[in-house]
């Protein structure tokens, strides 16, 4: 991944239709997701929270995709590592921290679900669960609704490389292909399903599978935020032209362990992780912005300071917020009041 350019030249982001302030916003979101993630690891190690599942290393793919979508109209079905994605489509650090601390005010689930199980009707982030890949047919159902109601939106769904082996992935892709639906499937291929490396999950390339479903499959460097932006934007344009789904395989790497309950050095080496750390999409994008002459170290330090302050505020807000009342456990089983859970 190399970017060339100097002041006065046309840079790659200009060619893609992105302004200088937009790429700085993208970089800000990537850094925000990263510092949030690192903070959650610390909170778990400090015993303040029970669990965290990390997306460190995948921010470029997440943010690049989000910025290529219509954040006023599209429907999003992110998976559990997508902090960069949900922050980019409007979730706040306070809201994420409310979820991390499982507090009543958490907009994702009211403190019911594990962190990383996103949902917000207002932001069109469709509620998700833990059994992987169930969200893929849901995305297809939302795209079917777009077609039936003739609405100008696409659905965008992410999942891991492990998930791409589930039946729901194949069934969802096949359905979308047959009915030519406006849906974008993006695999955040971080090379591991917990401990199982990619070569033990698939003998082929995920993007090649699209051929069998009758729509394009695209492989992209998932650490390159602008490339991900480009392919997702093209996929969205295809969908809006009525040309159906696209499968995107964003090749990246999970720098963190699977979760705070995982010891990753039991199945991979520190050298391997360090090698990928040096290919971190955030570092490369920072260098790109600096090469473009629109970013410098001073601005970077100021941004990190500002993010730390926001994060401190969000952490303290989440920590101090109230838990749900115990008896609220019984609420919202059904819509009607008689639908409360019984004992």
């Amino acid at each position: 991944m190399t970017y060339s350019g100097s002041v006065g030249q046309t840079f790659k982001h200009h060619e893609l239709g992105l302004s200088d302030s937009q790429v700085i916003e993208m970089y800000t979101m990537m850094q925000m997701a990263r510092v949030f993630d690192e903070r959650c690891m610390l909170l778990q190690r400090a015993g303040k929270i029970n669990f965290h599942v990390s997306g460190i290393g995948q921010e470029a793919a997440q943010v690049g995709a989000a910025f290529a979508l219509d954040r006023e109209q599209d429907y999003f079905l992110p998976y559990y590592r997508d902090y960069g994605f949900v922050l980019s489509v409007g979730m706040t650090l306070r809201e994420l921290m409310l979820s991390v601390f499982a507090k009543a005010e958490d907009p994702n689930s009211g403190g019911r679900q594990m962190p990383g199980h996103f949902g917000s009707k207002k932001l069109r982030i469709v509620t998700g669960s833990s059994p992987v890949t169930t969200q893929v047919p849901h995305a297809v159902g939302l795209a079917l609704a777009a077609k039936m109601k003739k609405k100008p939106f696409v659905s965008f769904v992410t999942f891991g490389d492990g998930s791409s082996n589930q039946g729901d992935f194949h069934e969802g892709c096949n359905f979308a292909g047959v009915h030519n639906l406006p849906v974008i499937f993006m695999c955040e291929n971080n090379r591991y399903a917990i401990s199982t490396p990619f070569h033990k999950q698939s003998a082929g390339k995920i993007s090649d599978r699209a051929l069998g479903y009758g729509f394009p499959g695209v492989e992209v460097d998932g650490n390159d935020v602008l490339e991900v932006y480009r392919v997702v934007k093209e996929a969205r344009e295809r969908a809006m032209r009525g040309e159906g789904p696209t499968l995107i395989d964003a090749l990246t790497y999970r720098i963190s362990p699977h979760s705070t309950s995982d010891n990753d050095l039991a199945y991979r080496t520190k050298e391997e992780v360090d090698e990928h750390r040096s290919k971190d999409g955030i570092l490369f994008f920072k260098q790109y912005l600096m090469d473009c002459g629109i970013w410098d170290e001073e601005q970077n330090q100021a941004l990190l300071k500002q993010l730390r302050e926001q994060l401190d505020d969000a952490t303290s807000y989440g920590d101090k917020a109230s838990f749900p009342a115990p008896e609220d456990t019984l609420l919202h089983v059904y819509a009607d009041s008689e639908g409360q859970g019984g004992q």
């Binding site: 019911r112 949902g119 469709v126 509620t127 047919p137 159902g141 079917l144 609704a145 819509a335």
Partner: protein, 328 residues
């Protein structure tokens, strides 16, 4: 009032709901051009078009999952499982997703999907075209489950299911499709979900059940009354989840002797829960042990005629069980 078959009543309910609300649509295997393997959706594609009567790939998890996604947008999908036996690939979507969407999002999202599935045997369907699968889903909070007995209820319950804001599993008995006929008003009525129905008043014994076997019970009850002077009170649960506990209490108090009847196998069936409710709340109302008449605890119904007959309930089995209870 028009008289029609149970299957026609189901079709009429879908047709009326699709006319009433353009967000209602049907999807499943062979529901479109063929009109369903049982003809349940016959004529709907011609009337409403291919997009609203959608032939899907043969993949049950996608049928349920796509319907759930559309329902979260605000559509009102009716997903058809060709046989309830083939519903199991969709179980993750139904139990992990549909049932939990409102709860896990703290009432932010909802999933107003209807999943129709034919249950039951007696049609030489063998192990995998005869099962009653309701007990697999029963006891999963967040789902509503209905199982109509009559043509009238089939139409009214399906219309109620389509209008319900939560996921409803609609278990229609395939042997009832053509066997059961009845008066079905052509106006826009619903049968409310969660309300049981007294099919017959009586003072000697109470029979509680749902779906096809209650037809055997009703025939047996008429004969027992005429031949032996035994008066049976018969309660059709209609909705299996949530159970109409008030109606169960009332029916039990009426006679103090209870027989629970269903085709699904005995262990872990709906009858076990009904029986537990009675034991918990009405022990001192009982004049006899609670009895159950159910399918045997074998994996499923064999196809050979003697085995199928052995498995299935019928009027004679019902009559004998009812007489035994009356004599206790």
């Amino acid at each position: 009032m028009p008289v029609m078959e149970y299957i026609d009543a189901i079709r009429l309910a879908m047709k009326e709901e699709m006319q009433r609300d353009e967000d209602v649509f049907v999807l499943g295997e062979d529901v479109g051009r063929k009109g369903g393997v049982f003809t349940t959706t016959k004529g709907l594609m011609e009337q409403f078009g291919e997009l609203r009567v959608l032939d899907t790939p043969l993949a049950e998890s996608a049928i349920a999952g796509v319907a759930i996604g559309a329902a979260m947008y605000g559509m009102k999908p009716i997903a058809e499982m060709q046989y309830s036996d083939f519903m199991f690939p969709a179980t993750n979507q139904i139990i992990s997703e549909a049932a939990k969407i409102r709860y896990r999002s703290n009432n932010d999202w909802s999933c107003p999907v209807v999943i129709r599935a034919p249950i039951g045997g007696g049609i030489f369907g063998g192990l995998y075209h005869s099962q009653c699968t309701e007990s697999v889903f029963f006891g999963t909070p967040g789902l509503k489950i209905v199982a109509p007995y009559s043509a009238y209820d089939a139409k009214g319950l399906l219309k109620a299911a389509v209008r319900d804001p939560d996921p409803v599993l609609f278990f229609e008995h395939k042997k009832c499709y053509k066997l059961v006929t009845g008066e079905v008003p052509d106006d826009d009525y619903i049968v409310p979900i969660g309300k049981a129905n007294v099919l017959r008043e009586g003072d000697d014994i109470t029979v509680i059940g749902y779906s096809l076997p209650l037809h055997y019970v009703m025939e047996a009850a008429a004969e027992l009354e005429q031949e032996e002077g035994i008066f049976a009170h018969v309660l059709d649960l209609r909705t299996l989840q949530p159970l109409d506990k008030d109606a169960i209490r009332e029916a039990v108090k009426k006679t103090g002797k209870v027989l629970i009847v269903h085709e699904d196998n005995k262990t872990g069936g709906v009858g076990a829960e009904v029986s537990a409710i009675i034991a918990e709340e009405l022990l001192y109302e009982l004049d006899a042990p609670i009895m159950r008449l159910c399918g045997p605890d074998v994996p499923a119904m064999p196809i050979n005629p003697p085995s199928e007959k052995f498995f299935m309930l019928n009027k004679e089995k019902a009559k004998e069980a009812m007489r035994n209870l009356a004599m206790y």
